[in-house]
């Protein structure tokens, strides 16, 4: 009885750890907090872009100068890479290491292709005269906000590709498991989510 009495307090010590606020995974909670902070960086940039554009007297029409078809293809590429990411996670859940590695690699390649297309788009626009300081079409802030927003997102894609390759290496070796692959996925889907917003606010509106 005295033994049971000593066991009970131990159970009570464990119990609070299972409260509704206890995260399923501390790593996942950490990634979500990081993504929330990162979302605020993008939110600040997008809100600043909106204010500058709204207050501008001669903001050029983005549709006339940006290649919507190319950026729509880039959007589709990121959406598909999010799909391959969840496929990698599903394979990881099933314990199918081969498929997991294949889908992680396809996701990383999708990200690299996105960066390639962005480099192509930037080169084309720079040749047309769009720079950080000005452009031939109107408000110089048109170029400034475009390069800062798409560049900041591009840096995230680059980080994501590196992160995916590290995950591929670590999960391939067996050092990382489902939890880690899921956290990588969270970051990658966030990059996709932000592009959806950047695509609409910078290219379409």
């Amino acid at each position: 009885m005295s033994h049971a009495a000593t066991m009970d307090p131990t159970a009570h010590v464990v119990e609070p750890a299972e409260s509704p606020l206890t995260p399923e995974s501390w790593g996942k909670l950490g990634m979500w907090i990081f993504l929330a902070a990162d979302a605020m960086s993008f939110g600040g940039l997008l809100a600043g872009y909106g204010a500058l554009r709204y207050f501008s007297l001669n903001w050029p029409n983005p549709k006339e100068h940006f290649g919507i078809n190319l950026t729509a293809a880039m959007t589709f590429l990121l959406i598909v890479s999010s799909f391959t990411m969840v496929k990698a996670l599903s394979a990881c859940r099933r314990g199918d290491a081969g498929k997991m590695k294949l889908f992680l690699l396809i996701t990383a390649l999708g990200g690299a292709a996105f960066l390639g297309l962005q480099a192509f788009e930037w080169t084309h626009l720079i040749e047309e005269g769009l720079t950080l300081q000005g452009n031939p079409w109107g408000s110089p802030l048109f170029g400034t906000t475009f390069f800062i927003l798409t560049g900041f997102h591009g840096c995230h894609v680059l980080s994501g590709v590196i992160y995916l390759l590290v995950t591929l290496m670590m999960a391939g070796k067996g050092s990382w498991g489902y939890g880690e692959v899921e956290i990588t996925g969270l970051y990658w889907h966030f990059v996709d989510l932000i592009w959806i917003l950047v695509f609409t606010f910078v290219y379409l509106i």
């Binding site: 979302a39 939110g43 959406i79 498991g177 889907h189 989510l193």
Partner: protein, 120 residues
């Protein structure tokens, strides 16, 4: 060490139909592009585009990021930047607006004089 706990818990929620999710996202993207070519008021097009973009973002968060199956804590963390950024937009709105300070004829005059570069 954490990975021994997570898979077991994750098996609890069903896997959404991811293919259907990308089909919906692609269709919404096509609708977005179509909306930009529609002969409607600019403001209405803007509202439609923001609505469509937010819908797509929420779909990505819900199904790809599994927010639909997570605890409320994570949803609250995810909603925080959205709330703060909405507040930021309202904070920026009363900011200096040059459009208000330039009456129509004066605006035309200022632009005409502002165009040529001053010679040094």
């Amino acid at each position: 060490m954490a990975q021994t706990q997570t898979p077991a818990r994750h098996d609890a929620h069903p896997e959404p139909n991811y293919f259907a999710v990308i089909v919906v996202l692609t269709v919404l993207t096509v609708i977005e592009i179509g909306v930009t070519y529609m002969p409607m008021a600019k403001l209405f097009i803007g509202i439609l585009l923001v609505g469509l973009a937010l819908t797509k973002a929420i779909i990505v968060a819900m199904f790809f990021m599994h927010l639909k199956f997570e605890k409320t804590t994570l949803a609250l963390i995810a909603a925080t930047p959205l709330v703060l950024c909405t507040l930021l937009i309202f904070a920026l709105l009363p900011d200096h607006n040059p459009k208000k300070h330039l009456p129509q004829p004066a605006a035309a005059g200022t632009e005409a004089t502002a165009q040529p570069q001053p010679t040094h």
